[in-house]
Symmetry: C2
Subunit: 517 residues, 2 copies
C-alpha cells in the first residue's frame, strides 16, 4: 500500500508491505574505480554493508564505467570554468564512482507514484560508528552526483577542504528526473511491458521536497543518524534548505549558496522560455520523441539561454569584447563565416540566403552554439523540462505557513552565500534568507561572473565555508561586502544621509571651534 | 552607378545618375487621419511640399488605415505598460498617420544594394522656414514610427512636452528591415519578377549607420537643414548616437536613453539565443518560410526571452508573487490547467502526457505565452532576425578609431539616461557614455522595472528631458540618484568611509565641546 506523505515524515515506500530500511537498499558498485580520490561509501553496519559491497544490479543505461571521461582539475578552476561548461562528462547515466540504490515505490507530493525508485549517488569518506558525521551536498540543475567533478577544491581529504573526507561522510544524491543515475524520463518505465523509458510519461512534477524525502530514505538505509550539514549551490541550496524544513532535528547546520527560499517568478519565466524553446522544436512531440532523433535544436537553444542567465553581462562583455570568431585552419587566421546550417542540430538551416554567411560571426555566438551542442550530448530534453518543473515547485513555505515565519522557525546555524553580480538569483534573495533566519551569517562572493561564480570562485568559497565550519566568521575583514542590511540601491540614500550628517557635524565643529577660539 | 559610402558622407543613391534630393521623395499620405494629435508633416518648400501632399504610391502591405487600432493613453502609462506590450498595433505595415517615402537604391555598409528603398516615417509639428527645428526620434527594436503610441506623454503640443510639437518638427523613421512601413523582408523584392517579398533574401546586415544615412537622405529631401536634437531609447539611442558621429555638424544635442555606444556581447548573446529559437523552429526553413505558415512558435519563444531581459527580476517577482493562473470562466475562480498544446502556435504539443496538465500554471508562464502570441500577430520572424543583426552591428567607433576617443570627440551637449535596474543594457554602460562624452549629464531613472522603464516611467522621463532641454539640470535635487561616479557596488565603500568620517567628526566635536566646556 502506498500512503500520502505528511510533512516531516518519510513516506511509506514499500509496495510489498515491508517498511523501508537497509534491507531495501541495493547498491551497484562499478567494477572499476577510476577516480582515485573518490572513495565509494563503505557503510559499516550489518546487512547494509554486505549489500553495499555486492553489485546487485545496474540499470541498462548506466552499466558502463567510462575510463576515458575527462577528469576535473583540482584547485582554482577559474580559467577552465570561465570558458567551459562546469561538467566534463559527455554522456548521461551514472557517473564514474557513483552508486545506484533501489528504494521501492514512492508517492510524490503530486499524488502519483514512481515505481521502483532508483537513486544515483556518490559518497566520499566513511560514515562513523555513531552515524552522525554525514554531510549532504545538493548539486545544481544539470550537474551529477560527482562532487569532485564540479567542486573539486571544496571536497577532499584534509582540513583545508570545506568538505573534509577524512572526517566527513559526504554524500551527493542525483535528483529524481535527472539523467545521471536516478529514475528519470531516460530510464525504463516499469509500467511499460516493452522495457521502454518513461519519456513523457514520467510522473510530473517532482518537488524539491520529494527529493529530500527520498534522500532521507536513502540515508536511513545507509545508517546515517544525523547530518552535520546540508550544503548546496543554486538548486542544491534549495535542497539543503528543504532538508532543514522537512527534517529540522536531523540537520545540524546549513550552507545555502546562490539560491532562494522559493523559486522566483523571473526564474520561473526563464525556465518557461527555455521549456518553450524545446517544446517548439518539431522533434519534441510533446515529449514523446524518438530517443534516436531528439529535439536537439530546442535543447541547445535552452542551454544558450541558460548560460546567459548564469553569467553577469559585464563578465560576458569582458570575456569576448565584440571579437569575431577566427578560423585558424586557413593558415593566416581569418574571420570565420557564420554557419548557414547546423547539421549536428537536426539540420537547422540558419540562413537560406548564402550571402548571409558574411555576417560577422561574433565569438559569443560561436561560444553559445558550442555550449548548446555540448549540452545535448550530456542531457535529455524531457529530463531538462522535469528538473525545471522541480525548480519551479520550490517554496520552503508550501503548506507550512507564511514564508518569513517558516524561515524564522529554522533555528539551524546557517551560512548564506550570495554572489553580488548574480542575475538569476539576485543577491537580495540571499540577503532576505539571512535576514529572516535567526542564526545566519551572510557571505558575499564579490565576483563579476554572475550566478556561475559558485562554480568558478571555488577556492575562496572553500576558505569561507571552512572558516565558518570552524566557528569563525566566513567573511575576512579585508573583503568589502559584509552582509549589508539594505538594498544596494538604498546605499545611495545612505550616502546622501551620511553626507548631510558630515556637513552638519562639520558645521557644528566649526561653530564649536569658533566658540572655543 | 552605386558607390561605396564614406564615413560622414551620405552615399549616392540614385541609380539613374540624378543626385538625391527633394525630387526623389515620393510620399504617400494615408487618406484618413484617424489620430487627432498626430499631424502629418507639412513640408514648406517647393516641389517637396507638393509631392508631400499628393499620395503617390502605397505599398501593397500598407494600404490600409485601420480605424479600430487601439489608442495609447496619454499621461503616466505605468499601469498599462507594466502589464502589456508597449505596442498596441496588431498588424505589420505602415501605422496610422505615417507616411512612406521612396529613396531609390542604397548601398549598404556591407556592400550590397537595396533597390528602391522605402522608409516609413511619422512626423509631428511643422518644419520652420529655416529648416532647423527638427528632432529625430529613434524607436526601439520592435516599435514603429508612431511616437505617440509608445511615448505619448513625451510628445505633444505644449511646453510641458519634451518633444513640443508647437515648436519642434518631430520625425521618427522606421528602420530598414522593420515591418512597419520600410523596406524589409516583408516587402516586395524588386528583383523578384513575381512580386514576392524579400524574405530570406533581404540584404543583411543593415547597420545603425546605414539607417542614419538613409534618414539623412530623407531629412534632406524634406528640407531639414539642422537637427535640434537626436533622441531615442534602447535601439533608438544607438541611432541618436550614430547620428552625432556620422553627421556631427548636423546635430545640436543628443539624448541617449537606456542604450550603449556599442552592442555588448551579452546582448549579442541574448539576440543569438532568440534568433536560434526561431531558426530551430522547423517552419523557419532558413527564412524561406511560407508567409501563411510562419515559424510562430519560435518567434513567440524569442519574445518570451526578450520580455524577461526587458524586466528586472525583482519587478517580475513583485508583479506575480508566484501566483497561479486562475480560470474565471468556471464560476468560482479555480486554478487553470496548464495547456498541453498551443494550437495558435503551430500546434506545439507541450505535454503528450495528459496528467501533466495538473502542473501548476504560474501566472508568469501564462503572461509570457500571452506576450508571445500577441507578438506574432504584429511582427515577422525574418524582420526580427534582421533587426537583431542591426543591433549587433552597432559600434559607434567602427572605422573611426578607439571607442573612447570617438566618444570624446563628440562635442555635443548630451543627456545620457540610464535605468538603475536595467539588466539588458546595465547602468554602467550609460555611466561610461556620460563619463567619456565631454558635455554630458547623466540622469538615472531609479526604477525597479528594468530596461522597459524607458517605456513605463515616461512622465518623469518627460520632466527630466524637458528640464534639460531648457538648460536646467535634468536631475532635481530631491531625486536620489545624482550621476554616481562609481559602480553601485562601490557605494557601500562610500558608506564605510562616510561612517568613519562621521565617527571622527563626532569625536572631534566631543573634544571641541569638552575644551569649550
Amino acid at each position: 500500500t502506498v500512503g500520502r506523505a505528511l510533512d516531516n515524515a518519510p513516506p511509506r515506500v514499500d509496495a510489498t508491505g515491508a517498511s523501508h530500511g537497509a534491507s531495501r537498499v541495493r547498491v551497484a558498485v562499478p567494477s572499476r574505480r577510476s577516480r582515485p580520490r573518490a572513495r565509494i561509501a563503505s557503510v559499516r553496519r550489518g546487512r547494509t554493508e554486505r549489500k553495499a559491497r555486492r553489485p546487485i544490479r545496474s540499470l541498462q543505461h548506466n552499466t558502463v564505467v567510462r575510463p576515458r571521461a575527462r577528469r576535473s582539475a583540482r584547485g582554482d578552476s577559474r580559467r577552465t570554468m570561465a570558458t567551459d561548461d562546469h561538467m566534463k562528462v559527455e554522456h548521461i547515466g551514472l557517473p564514474d564512482g557513483a552508486t545506484s540504490a533501489s528504494l521501492g515505490d514512492y508517492l510524490l507530493e503530486n499524488g502519483r507514484v514512481v515505481r521502483d525508485v532508483v537513486l544515483g549517488y556518490t559518497a566520499y569518506g566513511e560514515l562513523n560508528a555513531s552515524g552522525d558525521n554525514a554531510i549532504v551536498v545538493g548539486h545544481s540543475l544539470t550537474s551529477n552526483s560527482n562532487v569532485t567533478e564540479w567542486w573539486g577544491a571544496m571536497c577532499g581529504p584534509g582540513e583545508q577542504f570545506a568538505l573534509n573526507t577524512l572526517e566527513d561522510f559526504v554524500i551527493c544524491v542525483n535528483y529524481l528526473g535527472s539523467p545521471y543515475g536516478s529514475s528519470a524520463p531516460t530510464t525504463a518505465d516499469p509500467d511499460k511491458a516493452d522495457g521502454g523509458c518513461y519519456g513523457a510519461d514520467f510522473p510530473t512534477p517532482v518537488s524539491i521536497r520529494d527529493n529530500v524525502r527520498l534522500q532521507k530514505m536513502l540515508l536511513d538505509s545507509l545508517g546515517v543518524k544525523h547530518l552535520k550539514m546540508a550544503i548546496g549551490g543554486s538548486m542544491g541550496s534549495m535542497l539543503a534548505l528543504e532538508w532543514a524544513a522537512t527534517f529540522p532535528d536531523f540537520v545540524e547546520e546549513l550552507c545555502l549558496i546562490a539560491g532562494c527560499g522559493r523559486h522566483t517568478d523571473w526564474a520561473i519565466g526563464i525556465g518557461e522560455a527555455q521549456r518553450f524553446s524545446i517544446m517548439a522544436d518539431g522533434k519534441f512531440k510533446g515529449g514523446s520523441y524518438d530517443v534516436n532523433d531528439p529535439p536537439k535544436a530546442g535543447l541547445a537553444t535552452s542551454r544558450m539561454m541558460a548560460m546567459l542567465s548564469y553569467r553577469a553581462p559585464a563578465s560576458v562583455d569582458q570575456k569576448f569584447e565584440r571579437t569575431v570568431t577566427m578560423n585558424s585552419k586557413t593558415g593566416a587566421a581569418a574571420p570565420m563565416a557564420k554557419p548557414s546550417s547546423h547539421v549536428d542540430l537536426n539540420n537547422v538551416v540558419a540562413h537560406a540566403n548564402e550571402k548571409a554567411q558574411s555576417l560577422p560571426y561574433f565569438a559569443v555566438e560561436s561560444y553559445l552554439q558550442y555550449q548548446g551542442k555540448k549540452f545535448i550530448r550530456r542531457f535529455d530534453a524531457n529530463c531538462y523540462i522535469q528538473l525545471t518543473y522541480t525548480l519551479d515547485s520550490h517554496d520552503v513555505a508550501r503548506g507550512r505557513g507564511e514564508y518569513r515565519d517558516v524561515l524564522r522557525s529554522l533555528r539551524h546555524r546557517v551560512l548564506v552565500v550570495g554572489i553580488t553580480s548574480d542575475v538569476l538569483y539576485p543577491f537580495a534573495l540571499q540577503r532576505e534568507l539571512a535576514r529572516e533566519m535567526p542564526h545566519s551569517e551572510l557571505y558575499a562572493i564579490d565576483s563579476p561572473h554572475g550566478h556561475d561564480a559558485f562554480l568558478i570562485e571555488i577556492a575562496s568559497l572553500n576558505v569561507a565555508v571552512t572558516r565558518w565550519r570552524n566557528g569563525e566568521p566566513a567573511t575576512l575583514g579585508k573583503l568589502r561586502w559584509k552582509a549589508p542590511e539594505e538594498e544596494t540601491r538604498a546605499s545611495s540614500e545612505d550616502v546622501g544621509e551620511l553626507q548631510a550628517a558630515v556637513r552638519e557635524l562639520e558645521e557644528d565643529l566649526a561653530r564649536a571651534r569658533e566658540m572655543e577660539g
